[in-house]
């Protein structure tokens, strides 16, 4: 295994709201290798998207990245000055978002928006960039690229818009593409097409993808590595095979049980009791303990550390680590 592409260590991102300090990401660590589909899963509001945004340093007022480090090609992205970071963002690390409807600028046509990144990063001439944009539109399997380039976002369907987003983000052949729930807003058939497209591009340009989703089916099918997050922390991580076959952390086990599988006739769907604790004043010790069946005294008092129980399989729970 050669050097990892991106290593995140103890990342902390807080939001300073009038009600109090929201600790969206409170000490997240994970590593992404080259040419790999790394999945980040968890309930909505557990800080998955904030982690992604922190990696590309797209956190704005009232949020702030307060701690930890993100090592990418030997450089800590959090220490980089803005103009250095700007060279990486979009060129080396790109990102696509969940709501295709609102993620494209309504006043520019698709061709222009796709050609913008190459113009800025490789200072191509407009003509060249436009030709390249048309090529890219073809690459993401959109019919009649010539006409599509001139059309505006509001005339395109959800799937088409997501494809133009992808075309836009791969225009500079990034090494890492972060996809923040790319298919959640789309219907199932289009979902599959988009995922095939993403994996096809990954294979052809040896780019690694960080897939953020709460859809475990997708992770099982497409993912290589996976990390499970709960209330701002990573509670379990490892290869998809290990984590899905022998989930160690009670939360992961609970999640896996919730997926209705095949034709099994079940009278009642399992669910994890209780709701996500408020991130502003999270419970002491292990944050899952209010909802954990096996919660012990220790879990309540002491916060468990991430430990590597098995090879390439880490978990943060007193039960497993002993």
């Amino acid at each position: 295994m050669d050097a990892p592409l991106l290593v995140v260590k103890d990342l902390k991102t807080y939001f300073y709201l009038s009600k109090g300090v929201l600790k969206a990401v409170d000490g997240v660590s994970l590593t992404i290798n080259k040419n790999q589909v790394f999945c980040l899963v968890g309930e909505t509001g557990c800080g998955k998207s904030v982690t992604a945004l922190s990696i590309t340093r797209l956190i704005f007022y009232p949020g702030k990245i307060v701690g930890g480090s993100i090592i990418y090609e030997g450089k800590d992205l959090l220490k980089l000055p803005e103009n250095e970071m700007r060279k990486i963002r979009g060129k080396e690390i790109a990102m696509i978002f969940q709501s295709p409807m609102k993620s494209l600028n309504p006043v520019f046509n698709i061709g222009y928006q796709i050609s913008e990144a190459p113009i800025v990063h490789f200072n191509l001439k407009h003509g060249e960039a436009w030709k390249q944009a048309i090529e890219l539109i073809g690459k993401v399997k959109m019919p009649d690229p010539e006409m599509r380039a001139k059309s505006y976002p509001h005339v395109l369907s959800g799937g088409m818009r997501q494809r133009s987003m992808i075309a836009m983000m791969i225009s500079c052949e990034p090494k890492l593409l972060i996809a923040d729930e790319p298919t959640t807003a789309l219907d199932v058939t289009v979902q599959a097409q988009i995922m095939d497209l993403l994996l096809d591009i990954k294979r052809r340009s040896s780019m690694s993808i960080m897939l953020i989703t709460h859809n475990f089916g997708l992770v099982a099918e497409r993912g290589d590595e996976v990390a499970v997050m709960y209330s701002g922390k990573v509670v379990e991580g490892g290869s998809v095979k290990d984590v899905f076959n022998e989930p160690l952390h009670p939360y992961t086990q609970g999640l896996l049980r919730c997926i209705p599988v095949g034709f099994e006739r079940k009278t009642e769907i399992d669910y994890i009791p209780g709701t996500l604790s408020s991130p502003i004043n999270p419970p002491v010790g292990c944050r899952f303990h209010p909802r954990c069946k096996y919660a012990t005294e220790k879990c309540i008092k002491e916060e468990p550390k991430l430990m590597e129980i098995k090879k390439n399989h880490i978990v943060a729970c007193h039960l497993c680590g002993g």
Binding site: E82, R86, R89, G90, S103, P106, V107, E116, H154, M169
Partner: protein, 312 residues
């Protein structure tokens, strides 16, 4: 573009009845004003018979609707009739004051957007910091300042005591500085506040985040992506405020003796000089209808979503 042409022609056709209706309304409002122009204007040493003679010579003894159609038919040929007070052709009065109104009030409106937009953008970008609070605090202060009070203070300090600028009149360019300042300051404050809200809303949009994610430099993201979208509602507002330039500076024009159309309208209403009031009201109404159409066309030009809607 032909679709836009068709659309604006349709709007003009709708505009015409509006203009007619407003001119009739103002005509009736004038008739309702108690007292009649002849008695108002005739000086002290006039006998009742003389007043009757003058009324007949000016055709004021005709029934109202004949006066209205008489006036309307003349307006079609561009003759706005004669002012009761000055007996001068109304078109002359308006044309002689138009350059001064454009010079002062129009520039004030343009300047207020030229300065308002950058201040609003900076305040939006530096949201929550001291810069934001100070700029918006000062803007609100000037926004709360009545124009006549601001005018008096500026005139005394810069005109009389410091003598940096001429106190009043319209002879030189410097004499425009103080009235322009009095008009622009509160207006810059207003547009800055609105631009700030506009920008705050746009900056939270997803496509701006996409632009950041593409690694574009901040200047490009803010100006090309964010501001470009924020400008759409602002241009519409600019065109809606445009007719304000005709009568908006009534008090400033009287304090600084500036020969704009505002003071003419104000004096004509006072003296119940119907022809001048009706002519100015007509100009304001036509300008409003035209500006509405222009506003739509420009916003369609700026925002493809509306353009499609218009073509459909």
């Amino acid at each position: 573009m032909s679709a836009l042409l068709r659309y604006s022609v349709k709007r003009v056709l709708i505009g015409i009845p509006v203009i007619l209706f407003v001119s009739l309304f103002i005509f009736l409002l004038m008739q309702m004003l108690p007292g009649d122009p002849i008695k108002l204007i005739a000086g002290e040493r006039v006998t009742p018979e003389r007043i009757e003679e003058l009324r007949r010579s000016w055709g004021l003894d005709q029934p109202v609707y004949i006066q209205y159609f008489y006036w309307l038919s003349h307006v079609m040929t561009g003759d706005f009739g004669y002012s009761y007070v000055t007996r001068l052709p109304v078109s002359l009065l308006i044309w002689s004051r138009l350059p001064y109104t454009i010079q002062l009030t129009f520039t004030a409106l343009v300047l207020s957007y030229v300065f308002g937009i950058p201040i609003g953008v900076v305040a939006a970008l530096k949201r929550g910091t001291a810069v934001d609070n100070i700029t918006i605090g000062v803007a609100t202060f000037f926004y709360s300042m009545p124009t006549y009070w601001l005018g008096l203070i500026l005139m005394l300090t810069f005109g009389l005591y410091l003598r940096w600028f001429p106190i009043s009149g319209s002879s030189s360019l410097e004499s425009m500085v103080l009235p322009l300042l009095t008009l622009t300051l509160p207006y810059v404050a207003m547009s800055a506040r609105i631009v700030r809200t506009e920008m705050l809303e746009v900056l939270t949009e997803d496509y701006v985040r996409t632009a950041w994610a593409k690694g574009l430099p901040s200047r490009r993201v803010i100006l090309r992506h964010a501001l470009r979208n924020a400008l759409i509602p602002l241009t519409v507002m600019f065109f809606l405020d445009l007719p304000w330039i005709i009568g908006g500076a009534v008090i400033v024009e009287s304090i600084f003796a500036w020969p704009g159309m505002g003071s003419l309208l104000y004096k004509s209403i006072l003296k119940q000089d119907y022809p001048v009031v009706q002519a100015l009201v007509l100009v304001i109404t036509i300008l409003t209808v035209v500006c509405n159409i222009l506003g739509d066309i420009v916003s369609a030009f700026l925002d493809p979503r509306i353009r499609v809607e218009k073509e459909a």
